[in-house]
């Protein structure tokens, strides 16, 4: 997804750039076609004008001829007006038109020929008019009758027809070019418009995609932030938990180790006191010993001294036990864990087998639900955890009913959750946190125990990347919920204790 997006975002700007280049080319082509159109139309127009002027020239020559004929027939001076006008105009016309004709592709020879023919014709007409003016009418008619003027005129007409054909052809060609150029202009404008729409669409699409990418990136960042916060919260919880444990440790050391010390100090003093009484008694000579000192000495030797010694001994033993338990717990916290694939059914069956004797004695039973999840964890730690929990469930069974202990489990989000549910005597609400503390026990103290098992269970479960919680209804039963990392290596990777 990420790779596809980056290829896409590199590809689209390239496409847009190509489109822009193409659009520029189309604009240039349009410009070219527009210029061509203009040029062609100019040329077509020029050809038409040239044709027009050629026709005017012809008309002038014809006017001059008509005027000459009129004068020859009537001899009246007024018929000569058009001739004179035409003669002047023809010279003028030739000055401008001959260059244009050559430009239009009419050969120099033809133009020269036309010029000479027109000059000849005008010369013939001038001659006849001159003869007429001189009164030599017959000679003038004779000149006309030679048909040379008619031949010249015919040839002029023929050249004019050729010029007409040539300019017509030029006009046609230019019109053709113009139509073509106009067609291509239309095509390139249409193409440009389409391309423009595509480009704008592409740009909008790109902008939208980009905006969406930004939004996705922003969301990802926000998620990361959230995750970071969650992790920080988790870490803080771990630290707070570790801190609480440390506090409860110092409390334990403060209370539980001090208590036997107070006894040892106290009974040592009692011992001294009793010893002093007995020493005092012994120092007296037998005749000064009265009943009271005798009684006190007997009490000291027979009662106080053995009592004090007994308490001192038991207190020392108690202290030794406490220190051993604290050390055992500390050692459990530093033991190297082994990660091995474990089958809960097999593991718990072993634990149940070791309890079988006591189960049979009390008529209790352990039911392992199907679907206990497989885990990768430390075998010894799990045996100790579930050994303790099952042992407690049997130990604190309600004597009024047969104990049934259900063990069930699920796996989700990388954690295995194992429930150990009994129908025992239950745990009062105020004790549900206390029971996990060292040397603390709940309910009537009528079963043997030192308040160590659950402290041990909690320390072990936490080392396996999880925690243990308890749900209970007093008088109905208790469920211990053990959550552990399905793979203890992942818990270690997260740096949990």
């Amino acid at each position: 997804m990420l790779i596809g997006r980056s290829v896409f975002s590199r590809f689209v700007p390239l496409l847009l750039f190509a489109g822009a280049v193409l659009l520029l080319a189309l604009v240039l082509a349009s410009l070219r076609f527009a210029t061509l159109t203009r040029q062609s139309s100019h040329e077509a127009l020029d050809a038409a004008r040239l044709n027009n002027r050629a026709m005017q020239l012809l008309t002038l020559v014809q006017d001059a001829e008509t005027s000459q004929r009129g004068y020859l027939i009537t001899g009246e001076e007024k018929y000569l007006g058009p001739f004179k006008r035409a003669q002047a105009l023809i010279a003028l016309h030739f000055l401008s038109v001959s260059g244009d004709m050559m430009k239009a592709g009419i050969s120099h020879v033809t133009v020269e020929r036309l010029k000479r023919l027109v000059d000849d014709k005008l010369g013939e007409m001038r001659d006849t008019i001159g003869l007429k003016k001189a009164g030599r009418d017959a000679e003038a008619i004779a000149v006309v009758q030679t048909d040379s003027g008619k031949r010249v005129m015919d040839e002029i007409r023929e050249i004019m027809t050729r010029i007409d054909a040539i300019t017509g052809n030029i006009g046609f060609q230019r019109e053709e070019t113009m139509a073509n150029a106009a067609k291509w202009l239309l095509i390139s404008i249409t193409g440009g418009a389409v391309l423009l729409v595509i480009l704008v669409g592409g740009a909008i699409f790109l902008a939208v995609v980009h905006a969406r990418q930004l939004e996705v990136a922003r969301q990802a960042l926000a998620e990361q932030n959230d995750m970071l916060e969650v992790r920080i919260k988790q870490r803080t919880q771990f630290l707070e938990r570790a801190n609480r444990e440390l506090q409860s440790y110092s409390y334990i050391v403060g209370h539980d180790l001090r208590a036997p010390l107070v006894n040892i100090m106290g009974f040592t003093s009692e011992l001294e006191r009793a010893a002093a009484i007995f020493a005092d008694y012994m120092k007296r000579s037998p005749d000064t010993r009265d009943d009271l000192t005798e009684k006190l000495a007997r009490e000291a030797v027979g009662g106080d001294i053995p009592e004090a010694l007994g308490f001192i001994r038991s207190s020392m033993k108690r202290m030794d036990d406490l220190i051993n338990e604290i050390l055992r717990l500390a050692r459990a916290g530093s033991r190297q864990l082994n990660a091995e694939p474990l089958n809960f059914v097999e593991l718990l069956s072993e634990t149940v087998a070791s309890l079988q004797h006591r189960l049979d004695e009390t008529g209790s039973s352990v039911v392992l639900s199907p679907g206990l999840p497989p885990v990768v964890s430390d075998r010894l730690a799990l045996q100790q955890i579930f050994g303790n929990l099952l042992d407690n469930a049997v130990k604190y069974a309600d004597p009024s009913r047969r104990a049934v202990i259900h063990v069930s489990g699920t796996i989700a989000n990388g954690f295995a959750v194992i429930d150990v549910a009994d129908n025992g005597r239950g745990i009062a609400e105020r004790d549900r946190e206390r029971i996990f503390e060292l040397f603390r026990r709940s309910g009537p103290q009528d079963r043997p125990g030192d308040g160590i098992g659950l402290a041990h269970v909690r320390a072990l479960v936490r080392r396996l990347g999880g925690d243990v919680a308890v749900k209970s209804v007093l008088g109905e039963g208790t469920t211990f919920v053990v959550t552990l990392a399905a793979d203890v290596r992942s818990a270690r990777d997260r740096g949990e204790p």
């Binding site: 403060g254 209370h255 539980d256 006894n263 009692e270 009592e307 026990r441």
Partner: protein, 148 residues
């Protein structure tokens, strides 16, 4: 000191038998001759104090005094203190907390919960004896309220 027909009964709630014995010895040495009823667990003490109906009515009219250790195996002394102060009949009897810690937070909590006196068990035996005997002298001069 006039406790009428019912002299003060001292309820001693202390799980450590050694402590219980030392306390008793030293109270006796201070001249206190009142009955001392010892309990080693919170549950046993509470069931005695509150009686079968859970209100403490069984001790009506009797002056009671509780010597309470905070650190019990089955519940904390705080729980017992709270239960005593909640009960209709026992709520104003005298409770003396006698325990190993002198942590100020703990001391405060005890007074907050309605302890009348807080005595830390000192490590040096002379101080311990002194504290207990002072307590004995204190018991000789105070008038202990009866259970209402």
């Amino acid at each position: 000191m006039n406790q009428g027909l019912h002299p003060v009964v001292i309820i001693m709630i202390e799980d450590d038998q050694g402590h219980a014995r030392l306390i008793e010895k030293n109270i006796r040495r201070a001249g206190v001759t009142n009955d001392i009823v010892p309990f080693e667990t919170g549950l046993a003490a509470l069931s005695y104090l509150l009686g079968p109906d859970g209100s403490g009515k069984v001790h009506e009219g009797k002056p009671l005094l509780i010597l309470l250790d905070l650190n019990l195996p089955d519940m904390t002394g705080m729980d017992i203190l709270a239960r005593v102060r909640e009960s209709t009949h026992l709520h104003h009897i005298m409770v003396i907390v006698l325990t190993t810690t002198d942590d100020p937070v703990e001391v405060h909590r005890c007074y907050d919960l309605g302890a009348n006196v807080y005595v830390a068990k000192p490590m040096e035996y002379e101080k311990f004896v002194n504290a207990i005997q002072q307590l004995g002298l204190f018991l000789l001069v105070v008038t202990v309220p009866e259970v209402s």
